[in-house]
Amino acid sequence: MQRLHFSFLEYRRSRFLWVAVLITVAALIAYARDDAGEPPSGGTTLGYALGILGALLILWLLAYGLRRRSYHASWTTAQGWLSAHVYLGLALVVIVTLHTGFQFGWNVHTFAYALLLLVVASGCWGVWAYLQLPRLITDARGGLTRADMAQQILELDRRALTLARAVSMDVHRWVSSAIEGARTSGGAWAQLRAKDMSTMVIDRNGTAASVPNVDQYTLTELLADLTSRASDAKLASQLQDLLALVSAKVTLMQRMRRDLRLQGLVEMWLLFHVPLSLALLAALIAHVFAVLYYW
């Protein structure tokens, strides 16, 4: 019996791994056996050959971005392209390194090479993210969709407000300000750290003050304090119900932040990979132009 799902690394029994290995080995053998009578560099015949191969590969690798959005393309799959993209992208490092002949300097050529390494490195980060994070996302979701979570939070808020109104005006003010100040995401950095940026407004010596309300801590403290001092049983039980609603919301918000954090991590590498790729394309053009111009 065999499996139904195969990752992009295993696509068609990893056929592109073998293609990449073949290209790499061929390049290494050619490099080792090259006897041009001059030190290896991009300027030898082999150097030019490797350079042309590398440039073509870079253009083809960039074309993946277009292919992924060609939804009518019929005789290849996005998975096959990604598989080839990953393996040939790795092979590219070897090919281009051999192309340099290990001659580095403070110039546009080495700059292009450095960019290439960064692009490939960010790609490796992407491979790691694609293979490791999906399981964590599934676990974090707990079977809920994001819309489900938002819906449940809204529902908890609605019930909390109704209950708070029944307790007192003060409590209602706290609860509604905590709802208004609740944040599931802040900036990109806060999202990646899953940091709770929630705030609420409390009355401090007669003036309204906005204070942090991480994991509804401030609200919980206020309600707990009130509960401990509650004189009649009905009030105490209402406050306890309110506390239960607040802690249910905290659980959901933590789950949502964790989900957003993971989603951010799954996509974050692209923020490097794509701009660096475009920079690489520009550097590649400059490199080729410089080589041809100063020939």
Binding site: Q2, H5, F8, A78, Q79, G143
Partner: protein, 801 residues
């Protein structure tokens, strides 16, 4: 007629729907004394009950209209308006609020007793009362048209009102949900649950009740309604009997959705006979629409013709028949065209009679029904040796052989099927691929009957059902186990075979039972499970066409596993004696069965060693995938949630994604998104008025362009995979968009100038049948998380680790 003077009218027509109106208009035009009796205060009650603005179709479009009344495609309002005008200008004798309670007497002197003690006499009676019946009333003091409605025209007409809805069915729930957005809605349910509601409605209403958007009284009923001024400012006060005693509610409106009184009892009381007790049985009628009671005619939906145009034509024809005029039915030319392929220039009625005589299956069908069946069927005259259908095609029509023969090509053997017989019943009944290729013989004429027409016939005619069942059993046994066994032996085996029907979840047999029958799955699917370490582990899935229980027959031992129906399932079982007979006459059968049994035992043991796989299989079955033929599964351990699948779907399907990647349950990283699974017997096909939903030979279920946007399929799909979407605006060439800003441009599928009220049509996954290379969702998945598979391969799931 001699006794004309004894009767008030020559013709009494009951029911002012399309058929009745057309008949009355024709009678008026011909100057025949007539009366049209309508129980409600308005005409065409069924069409009145359509929702506001609904687009009314004039199907079948090729059928000409013959009626003095106008009718063409348009909105409900326009159609009703034109009929009202027509009724007025034709000077027909139309009486509203005249409900007929009983019809007695005989031809020439029928007595129609109206509610309210009045009696009308007529020579002939035309029943055109439709199938909807009259809405069941509350039957409480104070019930009057101003405060109690039985339909909801347009929810948008109400806001800020207190509305009581009585009922627990889908209509009540849908009304309650629609009204709750802007009104205070109280639902009165006579029982303690919503047992009759569809799954989607049930979930929605329970959620709305839980959220207190709707107040629901269970085990409650309306006791009385007091209208008139009161302190509340509302027009009436309703008293409810609730589980906690009486409650008084100031109310604006009461909507009673208690279903309808089916008209069958009334029709039978008139002396008209039905062929059987099936709920959709149709009374036996002659070619002139006369029932078994001479002088009483039945037209329209009650006579089996649900479409408006057919009913109107019949209204015209029935009056002409009564006048003694011979009229060719409106469909005459259509049939003549169909029969043109036969070459002979024979009269249509004679050809119909010949066809019916030649095929015993159709000899039990009444001539009108047969005519209808032929209208929907196709007559073929294939060249000798040409392929009628191919092995593994997904077509599901039934063929009858009018003349010549066909050959079934089963492996190297060719089995002939003779004139008068039929074939294709396996594909029709199982909803799966054709099991063999069929080739046309010399001078062969075939009648191809579509799935829906055939299913309707099977459901309404017990003899047809019996003949098809018998043929199915014989051929299933023959092709599965005994291609070489003599017919006499086969007959003996078939005589001992039984047909079983199991609802989803029912046990076919249990582990430890005595094994005495082998079950061949006819439709649906089964799961096989075993007790292992104190819990039940699902070890395999048996789709239609395969069998279970052979182990018990071969070894004569106890059942080694429990077998359950995964979905509603039918099986054919063969008893031990019959099977022994087969093994005696069929060389190699025992060895073949033993080999299969060995394989199955080994596979079961492997599955038992991997309870996770069994758990995934159970999970998939719980999602209704036992009736799937092709399903989208996402491996969540690979899915990076990029939604490229949805984008690809939208981009290849006019901007509306037919799949919802995020929705749907997940188990052990196997996610079943909301996407069509192309069921064996698609629920969506059930009530499609224009018959627009079909299965292509490749297996995908698709909706054709003649969709009228009624939304039945959306409601009937238990998996929520059908959406109603606006018809996309055509895109101009891209240079026009670039240069002149003509829209919609690429990616913009919504036309800003589009009419928001324009008809929406049903859309669903068509497995990208127009694209080479398979479904776009799968091809666009960069990580390999999305796959589409056939359920036979479910067992491979979970073998990953």
């Amino acid at each position: 007629m001699a006794d004309a003077k004894h009767a008030d009218f020559k013709i009494a027509i009951v029911g002012a729907g399309p058929g009745g109106l057309s008949a009355a208009a024709q009678a008026a035009a011909a100057g025949i004394p007539h009366v049209l009796l309508e129980s409600t205060p308005a005409l065409a009650n069924t069409i009145q009950r359509y929702q506001k603005g609904k687009h009314v179709m004039a199907e079948p479009s090729r059928l000409p209209l013959r009626s003095p009344l106008p009718f063409e495609v348009g909105t409900r309002e326009r159609v009703l308006e034109r009929w009202a005008e027509g009724a007025k200008s034709s000077k027909m004798n139309l009486r509203y609020k005249a409900e007929v309670a009983a019809i007695t007497g005989a031809i020439g002197a029928f007595r129609l007793e109206l509610k309210g003690k009045e009696t009308i006499t007529a020579e002939r009676v035309v029943l055109a009362i439709g199938l909807q019946g009259n809405p069941r009333k509350l039957g409480v003091p104070g019930e009057e048209p101003r405060t109690v409605h039985y339909t909801l025209d347009d929810p948008a007409d109400h806001s800020g009102e207190t509305i009581i809805i009585v009922g627990a069915g889908d209509a009540a729930i849908e009304n309650a949900l629609a009204l709750a957005e802007a009104n205070s809605v109280v639902l009165v349910n006579r029982k303690d649950e919503f047992s009759r509601a569809k799954e989607g409605n049930l979930t929605a209403i329970l959620r709305a009740i839980e959220k207190r958007q709707i107040e629901c009284f269970y085990n409650a009923s309306v006791a009385k309604i007091v209208s008139g001024r009161n302190s509340s400012g509302k027009p009436c006060i309703v008293t409810l009997n609730t589980a906690r005693g009486a409650a008084e509610l100031p109310t604006d409106l009461i909507i009673a959705r208690l279903g309808a009184v089916a008209p069958r009892a009334f029709v039978e009381a008139c002396g008209i006979r039905f062929p059987n007790d099936e709920p959709d049985a149709i009374p036996l009628l002659k070619h002139n629409y006369e029932s078994n009671v001479p002088g009483i005619y039945v037209i329209g939906a009650l006579g089996g013709y649900p479409l408006i145009k057919q009913s109107m034509n019949q209204g015209y024809e029935v009056v002409e028949h009564i006048r003694g005029n011979r009229v060719k039915p409106a469909d005459h030319d259509l049939l003549a065209e169909k029969f043109a392929v036969l070459g002979a220039n024979t009269e249509v009625n004679i050809t119909l009679a010949n066809l019916q005589r030649a095929v015993p299956l159709f000899s039990h069908v009444n001539p009108l029904q047969f005519r209808e069946l032929m209208l929907e069927s196709t007559v073929h005259r294939p060249a000798a040796g040409s392929v009628v259908f191919e092995h593994n095609d997904y077509t599901n029509t039934l063929y009858a052989i009018f003349s010549g023969t066909v050959e079934v090509s089963a492996g190297p053997k060719r089995i002939p099927i003779k004139r008068g017989s039929f074939f294709g019943e396996m594909g029709l009944l199982s909803g799966r691929r054709r099991t063999a290729t069929v080739l046309a013989g010399e001078d062969c004429v075939l009648v191809e009957v579509p799935r829906r027409t055939m299913n309707k016939l099977i459901a309404s005619n017990t003899q047809v059902k019996r003949l098809i069942d018998e043929a199915f059993i014989a051929r299933a046994v023959q092709s599965r186990f005994a291609p070489n066994t003599p017919d006499a032996v086969l007959k003996q085996v078939v005589a001992g075979a039984q047909l079983h029907t199991y609802p989803a979840g029912a046990v076919v047999f249990s582990e430890g039972d005595d094994g005495d029958r082998l079950h061949l799955v006819r439709s649906g699917s089964l799961t096989v499970s075993r007790q292992s370490r104190n819990r039940e582990v699902v070890v395999s899935y048996v789709p239609a066409g395969k069998y279970v229980g052979e182990m018990g027959l071969l070894g004569g031992t106890k059942r080694s596993a429990t077998v359950r129906a995964a979905v509603a399932t039918e099986t054919v079982s063969i008893d031990a004696a019959g099977f022994a007979l087969l093994m005696q006459h069929e060389p190699g059968l025992r060895e073949q069965m033993q080999a299969e049994m060995r394989q199955r035992l080994a596979a079961n043991a492997r599955m038992e060693a991997q309870p996770d796989t069994g758990d995934i299989l159970s999970f998939l079955m719980a999602q209704g995938l036992g009736e799937a033929t092709d399903v989208l599964l996402i491996d969540e351990s690979l899915c990076v949630r990029c939604d490229n699948c949805e984008t690809a779907c939208a981009e290849t399907h006019q901007g509306t994604s037919r799949l919802d990647r995020e929705a749907g349950p997940t188990f052990a990283n196997v996610h079943v998104p909301t996407s069509c699974r192309h069921c064996e017997h698609p629920h969506c096909m059930k009530e499609c008025p224009p018959d627009a939903i079909h299965r292509s030979p490749n297996g995908e279920i698709f909706i054709a362009d003649n969709c009228i946007g009624c939304g039945n399929c959306e409601r009937n799909c238990p998996y929520g995979v059908i959406q109603m979407a606006s018809v996309p605006a055509p895109q101009p060439p891209i240079w026009q968009w670039l240069l002149f800003g003509r829209g919609p441009g690429p990616g913009e599928h919504k036309d800003p100038n589009a009419d928001p009220l324009a008809t929406k049509k049903a859309v669903k996954c068509d497995m990208c049948s127009g694209l080479k290379g398979g479904p776009a969702c799968v091809r666009a998945c960069p990580t390999g998380a999305a796959i589409r598979i056939r359920p036979e391969r479910f067992q491979q799931l979970g073998d990953a680790d």
